[in-house]
């Protein structure tokens, strides 16, 4: 039973998977053909061996640079700083941003022991200090921790001749004002803009 226990133990380390689910998945894999299990093992091996952070923006990539950093059509003068690599996909889906990214690797959280030294803020400074960057858009989550992280980054970049901006907050498109909470409405009112 060593192999079964070993796999169940590894699976139970994944988020949202407890001991019972891990065992259920293990027995499910045993019902599949050996080829199917080998393909899964191979995919995991490839993932572990090939996927790594882009040395420039810390997006995930299998190449020397990620596809966005390699894309000559992107505007390298505008950097959008996000918390996680998964946030890049959300912004890319909007189709509105043609600049490049910088993945901070999380957000400041004293309670979780995550400080600036755990994020890629120095690397962002290094990119900015090259002098090409005109604007850094800070797109951390609109939470207390995300806002504090944005404030910290903004202060770190204050000595460079560039614009530091923060993504706007407000009502979601398609939402009903009636059902929006007071905090969101207040922020939407604060960030209102003139119509022309």
């Amino acid at each position: 039973m060593g192999a079964i226990d070993d796999l169940a133990a590894e699976l139970s380390k994944l988020p949202g998977i407890g001991r019972k689910t891990a065992l259920r998945l293990t027995y499910h894999l045993l019902k599949r053909t050996p080829e199917q299990s080998k393909r899964l093992a191979s995919a995991l091996t490839t993932l572990a061996e090939k996927v790594r952070p882009c040395p420039q923006c810390f997006n995930l990539t299998e190449e020397d640079l990620c596809s966005i950093c390699r894309d000559a059509r992107r505007d390298t003068g505008v950097i959008c700083a996000v918390e996680e690599a998964s946030d890049i996909g959300a912004i890319e889906r909007s189709g509105e941003f043609r600049g490049v990214y910088h993945v901070l690797g999380g957000r400041l959280s004293p309670l979780d022991g995550i400080g600036p030294e755990d994020l890629t803020i120095p690397q962002l400074e290094t990119r900015v200090s090259a002098g090409v960057v005109r604007e850094v858009i800070i797109a951390t989550n609109p939470s207390i921790e995300g806002e504090t992280t944005a404030l910290y980054v903004q202060r770190k970049l204050a000595r460079y001749p560039l614009t530091v901006s923060r993504i706007a907050r407000g009502l979601p498109v398609g939402g009903d004002l009636e059902y929006a909470d007071g905090v969101t409405i207040a922020q939407a009112l604060t960030a209102r803009r003139a119509m022309s």
Binding site: P15, P110, L111, P142, I144, E145, E147, T184
Partner: protein, 253 residues
């Protein structure tokens, strides 16, 4: 599953699975409780922006007996504390207060602790950037006091001899407060504190946060508080938020 309806403050929140969040709440009726907030990360989730750190409101929890994680049914927000994100000193001080509550409050009902934490967070949220350490110190000592560990500051903690306010004294963590010169020999490891420092702690315990400290004094107070927590409250785990606040590691920005 019994329903617990209570006032609550969000002290810690972390993402869980695709769209949910696990939150740790300080409740008025049941101390610190953990709850799963399903779909809380969705922009149109049922909690809206309510479940942000340090927010306060009316929570309804489906309590699972003999379990540590309950289900959050609703959270009706009454107070956000977005001002805490407008200054890094405020944020680290508030995180330290949250850490004290999370680590030492337990699950017993303690309305006084709830009211104290709410008031302390409000004060820190209003704190001027140059006063966040004083307000954080004041808040920490008030929380320590409500948790039942008020230091003795008027008379010797060992022989109970009254000591003059003007005297510089020895603060003995193991004895629980100041000690007279004679007893200080029985309480090794004490720290000399000036009368002004003793007065400052007394003011803070009384809710008076008008004390002004120079930088070196603030550092000494933080060190004294850390040692006191270590002697009376802390388990073996490090106080991470306290360490960030004490060393101001983030203020170099």
């Amino acid at each position: 599953m019994p329903l617990l309806a209570t006032e609550a403050i969000v002290l810690h929140a972390f993402d869980y699975l695709e769209s949910s969040r696990i939150i740790r709440l300080l409740t008025r009726e049941a101390g610190v409780q953990s709850a799963l907030a399903r779909g809380a990360r969705k922009s149109r989730g049922r909690y809206g922006t309510a479940l942000d750190l340090f927010a306060e409101g009316s929570a309804q929890l489906y309590v699972k007996p003999n379990r540590e994680l309950h289900n959050l049914a609703s959270f009706e927000i009454s107070r956000t504390r977005g001002e805490l994100a407008e200054d890094i000193g405020r944020f680290t001080a508030a995180s330290t207060i949250a850490e004290l509550a999370l680590r030492f409050a337990g699950e017993a009902d303690n309305p006084q602790l709830y009211d104290t934490i709410a008031d302390v967070l409000d004060r820190i949220a209003r704190s001027a950037p140059e006063r966040t350490i004083e307000d954080g110190l004041a808040g920490c000592w008030r929380v320590v006091s409500v948790l039942g560990f008020t230091p003795e500051l008027s008379s010797c903690a060992l022989c109970h001899t009254p000591l003059r306010d003007s005297d510089d004294t020895t603060f003995s963590h193991s004895s629980g407060g100041i000690v007279c010169p004679a007893c200080s020999k029985l309480a090794p490891g004490g720290r000399r504190i000036p009368s002004a420092a003793r007065a400052a702690i007394r003011h803070w315990l009384e809710g008076d946060d008008s004390v002004h400290l120079i930088d070196a004094e603030a550092r000494s107070h933080q060190r004294l508080l850390r040692e006191f927590l270590g002697a009376h409250l802390a388990d073996d785990r490090p106080l991470r938020a306290f360490a960030v606040w004490e060393h101001e590691r983030w203020s170099a920005a």
